[in-house]
C-alpha cells in the first residue's frame, strides 16, 4: 500500500522535524545564556578600570595600557561594551573611550568594512563611525550617503554625517536629498541642521539650486538654524518659487528666523489667492515674527473660511501672549466665523494660567466657569 507508506513516511518526517526544532530551541537558549555569562565574565575585570578611566577624564597610562592589552577574546567582549558607553557620554569622558577604540584599531577595521559587499555590514560600520566622530572618514561616508545602492546604507551614512557634524558635509548632504538615490528629505534635513551655522553658505547656494529638493531642504534648515542673512533670499523664494513645497518651507523658515522685514511677504503669502497649505503655514509664521502689525493681520485671518488658516491664526495669537488678548477677546465676543476659533484659544490660555475652574469636584469655589462653545465648522 504505497499511499499508506507515503503517509507514514511523511508523518515520521514531520515528527523528526518537530523534534529537531525543539532541540534547536533548547540549544539556542543554552548557547545564548552561556555566551551572555561568558561575555559578562570577560568584561567584569575591566569595568572598574574603565569607569575610573572615564571618570578621571584624564588618560591614566597604566589603566589604558591594561585595557589595550586585553587579549583578542576579552577585547571582542569589551569592544561592544565600550561602544555602548560612548553612546551615553559626552565631553572628555567620551573622548577618552573613543581614543581607546582608535588605538586598538576599531576605527581602522570599521573603515575597511565601509566597502564590504554586505549592506548590513556597511550600514553598521557607518553608524558606528558616526558615533566615533572625530576619527571617521568623512569623505567615505559622504560617498556612501550619495551613491550606495542600498537605501538603508544611504540613510545611515547621512545620519552619521549629521552626528559627526562637520559643516564641510553640507554639500554632500544637500545633494543626497535629491536624485534617484535620494535620502528621505527629513533625514537629510536633520543631519544638515546638526552641522550648525557653518553650513549656512552652502545652504544659501542650495536655495538657488535647480533641484526642488535642494531648495526645499535649504529653506527648511536655514529657518531651523535661524540664519538672519538668509531672510531676503527666503522672502523671494516664499513668493516666487515655482514649487509649492519650497514656498511653504520658505514661509515657515521666515517665521523661525523672525525678522520683522519678512512681514509684508508673509502677509502676501496668506492672501486668498494662494494655496491653503501655504496660507496656513504663513499665518503661523506671521505669529512667530510678532508685533502689532502681525496681531492685526492674524485677527483678520481668524475669520478666514479655510479651517487650517483660521485655526493657525488663532493659535499664533495665543502664543503671542497678553498683547494679543484684546484682539482675541474682541473676535470671541463677536458673531463672525472667527469667534469659535478665538474662544478656543482664549479658553486654552485660561486653562494653562489657572484662571478657570476644573471639572474636578474639589476645585476651589468662587471661580467662574467659562461658557463653552464647542463649535463645528463645515
Amino acid at each position: 500500500m504505497t499511499v499508506y507508506t507515503a503517509f507514514l513516511l511523511a508523518g515520521l518526517a514531520l515528527v523528526a522535524l518537530g523534534l529537531a526544532l525543539a532541540a534547536a530551541i533548547i540549544v539556542q537558549r543554552g548557547l545564548r545564556q552561556h555566551a551572555g555569562r561568558r561575555d559578562l565574565a570577560l568584561v567584569e575585570p575591566f569595568r572598574p578600570l574603565l569607569i575610573a578611566l572615564v571618570m578621571d577624564e584624564r588618560a591614566d597610562a597604566t589603566a589604558t595600557a591594561r585595557i589595550l592589552g586585553a587579549d583578542a577574546r576579552a577585547w571582542s567582549a569589551l569592544e561592544p561594551h565600550i561602544i555602548s558607553m560612548v553612546r551615553k557620554l559626552r565631553g572628555d569622558s567620551r573622548a577618552v573611550l573613543v581614543n581607546l577604540l582608535h588605538e586598538r584599531g576599531t576605527i581602522t577595521r570599521l573603515n575597511r568594512r565601509l566597502t564590504r559587499p554586505g549592506a548590513v555590514g556597511r550600514a553598521r560600520a557607518a553608524e558606528l563611525l558616526g558615533l566615533l566622530g572625530e576619527h571617521a572618514p568623512r569623505r567615505d561616508l559622504e560617498r556612501l550617503a550619495l551613491r550606495d545602492h542600498d537605501a538603508e546604507v544611504r540613510i545611515v551614512a547621512a545620519r552619521a554625517l549629521g552626528e559627526i557634524g562637520d559643516p564641510k558635509s553640507a554639500r554632500a548632504l544637500l545633494a543626497a536629498a535629491s536624485g534617484p538615490r535620494a535620502v528621505p528629505l527629513r533625514i537629510a534635513a536633520r543631519s544638515l541642521a546638526r552641522l550648525g551655522p557653518g553650513a549656512a553658505p552652502e545652504l544659501m547656494r542650495g536655495l538657488r539650486s535647480d533641484k526642488t529638493t535642494s531648495r526645499a531642504v535649504s529653506a527648511e534648515i536655514l529657518g531651523l538654524l535661524g540664519v538672519t542673512s538668509a531672510a531676503t533670499v527666503l522672502a523671494s523664494a516664499a513668493e516666487d518659487d515655482p514649487e509649492l513645497d519650497v514656498r511653504i518651507r520658505s514661509a515657515r523658515a521666515l517665521g523661525r528666523i523672525g525678522v520683522p522685514s519678512a512681514l509684508p511677504v508673509l502677509e502676501r503669502c496668506t492672501g486668498p489667492d494662494r494655496h491653503p497649505a501655504l496660507r496656513a503655514v504663513a499665518a503661523r509664521a506671521v505669529g512667530e515674527v510678532g508685533g502689532p502689525i502681525a496681531i492685526e493681520l492674524l485677527a483678520r485671518l481668524l475669520d478666514d473660511p479655510v479651517h487650517r488658516v483660521a485655526a493657525n491664526a488663532a493659535r499664533a495669537l495665543g502664543r503671542l501672549g497678553d498683547r494679543a488678548l484684546p484682539a482675541l477677546r474682541r473676535t470671541a465676543a463677536g458673531a463672525t466665523p472667527g469667534a469659535p476659533y478665538a474662544a478656543e484659544v482664549l479658553a486654552e490660555i485660561d486653562v494653562r494660567s489657572g484662571r478657570v475652574v476644573a471639572l474636578r469636584a474639589d476645585a476651589a469655589v468662587g471661580d467662574v466657569r467659562l461658557p463653552v462653545v464647542t463649535g463645528v465648522v463645515g
Binding site: A193, E344, T374
Partner: protein, 488 residues
Amino acid sequence: MIPHVVTDAAVAFLTGFDWFVLGYFLALNSGYLVLLALASLEFARHLRRLPFAGYDEAYASPLTLPVSVIVPAHDEGPGIVDAVRAMLSLRYPEFEILVVDDGSTDDTFARLVEAFDLVEVPRVVTPDVPVVGALVSVSVPRSALPLVVVRKENGGKADALNTGINVARYPLVCMVDADSVLDPDALMTVSKPFADDPERVVATGGVVRAANGCTVSGGRIVEVRMPRTWLPRIQVVEYLRAFLMGRSGWSRLGALAIISGAFGLFRRDVLLEVGGMAHGCIGEDADLVIRIHGHMRRTQRPYRVVFVAEPVAWTEVPTSLKVLANQRRRWHRGLAQTLWRNRSMMLNPRYGRIGLLTLPYYFVFELLAPVVEVVGVSAAALGFLVGAVNLSFAVLFVAVALAYGILLSIASLALEEFSFHRYRRWRDLALAVGCAFIENLGYRQLTAVWRLQGLWAELKGARVEWGTMSREGFGGPAAASQPVGSRP
C-alpha cells in the same frame, strides 16, 4: 435495503471528499509554512538592522513626524487612568493622546477628570470624516500634559475613531485599544518606516501579544511570563503562530491586509481620503486597511503597508471559554463582513497582490476553514462508518494532519526563541511546547466550531452582539464587563 449502486456512489463520493479535505489541510498548513518561512526572513532582516535603527536620533530630532494617538474608550473605567498615564510616558518626541469617550455609562470620564485635572474647553472640530454620535465636550488637563479627552454620544468604536481622526492635529494617527499595554518604544518602532520611506508608507502595524501572566507596573510590561492557566497559555502560542508569523509573512510579500485595531499607525491625509473608518461593520480594522489598499491602487500611487516585527502592544486575552467563544464568533463575522464589503477587489488584477493573493487566501483558508474542518471531520467519521475509509488509514491521516499542525506551532516557537526570546524562564518554554500540542488537539477544533457559528450568524444576518469579557485586571481586583479586544 439500499441498492448497491447507491451505496457505491456514496462511498465513492465520500472517498473523494475525504481526499479533498486532506488536500485542503495540506494546502492550508503549507500556506502557513510558506508564511512562516517568509516571516523568518523578515525577522532576520529586522534584527540585523536593529543596531543602526537610529531610534535615539529620531527621538532627539525636531523633524520627527508628530503623532496623534487615538484611544477609543467605552466603559473602560477601571483601567483607563493607568492606560492613559502609560501612554503619556511613551518615548516619542511629539505626540498627543486623544481619548474618545464613546458615550460611556460608567465613570470613565469622571476618573479621567479626577486623575488629570481636566477642564472643559471649546474646540473647533471640522467634520473631515463622517461621524454619527454628536460631540458632547472637549477637555484638556490644566497642566501641560499633551492629553485631550473628547466626550461624544455613543456611536460604536468606528465612530469614536472617526471623531478622533477629526480632532487629531498631527499628520500621523495611531489607533490604540484602551486596554492595550504599550511598549514605551512602540511609537518609535512603528513610525520608523514613515521616516525611512516617507513617499510610500501609508500605514504600519506592530506585533500584538497576550499580556496575561506578565507583570504590569505603571501601565508597562516589566516581566514577560506565560499565563497561569491553560486557556490563555494556548492563546499565547496561537498568537505567535497565527498572528505574528502570518502578518510578518504577508508584510514581506507586500500584501498585508490586516493591521490590528489594538495598535496601528496611519497617515492622517490618507485616512481622510478613504473617508475614515466604516460604520456598522465588525472588522473595522481589517476593512480600513483593505480600503486603503484599494484606494491607493485605484489612484495608482506607489505605497506600502508595513508590519514591523517588533512587539509593541500587549493585550489581555479571554480566560473563560464563554468569552473566548464570543470573541471568535465576532472575529469571524468581522472577517466575513470585511470580505463581503470589499468583494469587488477579490480576484481583480487591478488590485495586485491584495486582490489576487491575500483576499482569495483569506476567503479560502480563513473564512471557509471552519466549514471544511467541521464538515470534513463529519465526512471522515461517516466514511469510516460505511466502510469507505479503513481504520488504520483514517488514524494515520489524522495523525499526519495533526503532526503538521504541531510542527508549525513548534516552528513558530523556535522563531520566537531565535528572534525576540521574550519568555526568559525555562518553565515558560516547556509550557509553550506543551501548548503547541494542545492547540492542535482540541483547541483549534473548538475554535472551528465557534467560527462556524460566527459565519452562520452572519449569513442569517443576526443582530450584532458585542461580546463582553470580565477583566481580571493587572494586579488589582477591579473587574468590569468590557468589550473583547481587537484581533491582534
